[in-house]
Symmetry: C2
Subunit: 235 residues, 2 copies
DNA sequence: CAGTGGTCTAGACCACAGG
DNA sequence: CTGTGGTCTAGACCACTGG
């Protein structure tokens, strides 16, 4: 083999991938330790570390102290979903975004499945909003949202006909952790009417709960019209 | 404020998050540059870099050369889905995994939606498999799979009644990139019978195409019984 | 207890993009 | 052109864990 130059961690990463694809290193094999690779590639160990860590983050390698680094046998496909704000998703498709507030009231509990997803105690003081996202005037998603008024008091005074609750929250409660659930459901008559679907049609649904420091911030259920598909980028 | 010790990149990361949550740094704000933070935290710049990079990877910060680092305004929620092998998913729930090969033949094209998802030229020499994954004997998912025989010739000789095609592929074609699509569909009579669902019921569906070096390796469509939910970890 | 990856440091140079 | 993040280096110590 010709002498190759490895200048940076990306090229090392590529070379490691190449060896795995070429089955020079097979699933389950322990690969040479960092020092050895650093020596082979004629670079600092930190650089090799950077490359191997990135592969380990993606589940392609498994690393353990003392045990060394091995090629994952049954790699978990780690798909990253970029869940953006619906407005951005719609505008990215070159469509005009619209938002329509259908209902607003106070509730004292979440629906059971969202409560289970939340995994944290849910207060009894919730602002409940039902709204519709539109793309070029056509229903794009029906959204049902609960906002914890103890975490986000100012939400009560907001007029969510102007700004969508999601965008307001994102800018008001900056950093949050969230859990998602994806599922299929049948359109009930109410939902069907909002989304211009027929009752009983299969709809794609995303549930989400958002927390900050262990306290619920908001819970959302978004329902999409028939035919909607959620796509991911690469693992 | 009391003098705090910042020993490692994780603690710096936490402190940065704290400042964002506390709105000391608001969405859109430029935060101090790495050298300044390294100075404040009394550590090397590389350590600050490590902390900020991890936040930037998650979409919480946005970094650009010369422009500096700022708190993301409309952060994209980056959910990571761990799509494991169904056998592992089932066994992780303490259930017994079973696999049943329903049909096997040759086809010359993918269904249109999978072909669109693939994004690479699809050869006309495909092995097609239809199989059922069982958890404790109950249908867990119906799987329809196409394998590119030009990439994975040996697949033709395999007996997929013994080992599931997915597991064989994973060990045979180690590293691959893949794209997913999630959607809802109505059970047609055939699918309904396999999954013991009623015709027309909403089903959750995952489509996936897998590539290696730009060549299609396999395309899969997995359909789950009513009530199935896909959950994610945190962003 | 010893070997491996995990991390930190201090310094350097580079690449990119803002002004 | 200049300031910022991106990366590399050489060396060091630490933490975990397998044997």
């Amino acid at each position: 083999m010709s002498v190759q130059e490895f200048r940076n961690w990306r090229s090392i990463r590529e070379e490691v991938l190449r060896r795995i694809e070429a089955r020079e290193w097979e699933p389950g094999d322990v690969i040479p330790r960092e020092v050895a690779l650093a020596d082979e590639f004629n670079c600092a160990r930190a650089t090799v570390n950077r490359a191997l860590r990135s592969l380990s983050d993606e589940g392609i390698l498994e690393r353990r102290r003392k045990a060394g680094t091995r090629v994952a046998e049954l790699p978990t496909r780690r798909a990253t979903l970029d869940i953006s704000i619906l407005r951005l998703e719609i505008e990215a498709q070159g469509q005009h975004y619209g938002h329509q507030l259908l209902a607003q009231d106070h509730e004292t509990a979440l629906p059971p499945d969202l409560e289970a997803l939340a995994g944290v105690p849910v207060p009894h003081n919730l602002l409940h909003l039902r709204s519709l996202h539109l793309a070029d005037g056509v229903p794009y998603a029906l959204e049902e949202r609960w906002i914890n008024l103890e975490t986000a008091r100012e939400a009560e005074a907001m007029d969510f006909r102007e700004i969508s609750p999601n965008e307001w929250l994102v800018n008001h409660v900056p950093y949050t952790a969230c859990d998602f659930t994806f599922s299929a459901m049948a359109a009930d008559p109410v939902v069907a009417r909002s989304l211009k679907a027929r009752s009983g049609q299969p709809l794609f649904r995303i549930d989400r709960t958002t927390r900050q420091r262990g306290a619920l911030v908001t819970a959302v259920c978004q329902i999409f019209p028939p035919g909607y598909r959620l796509r991911t980028g690469v693992a």
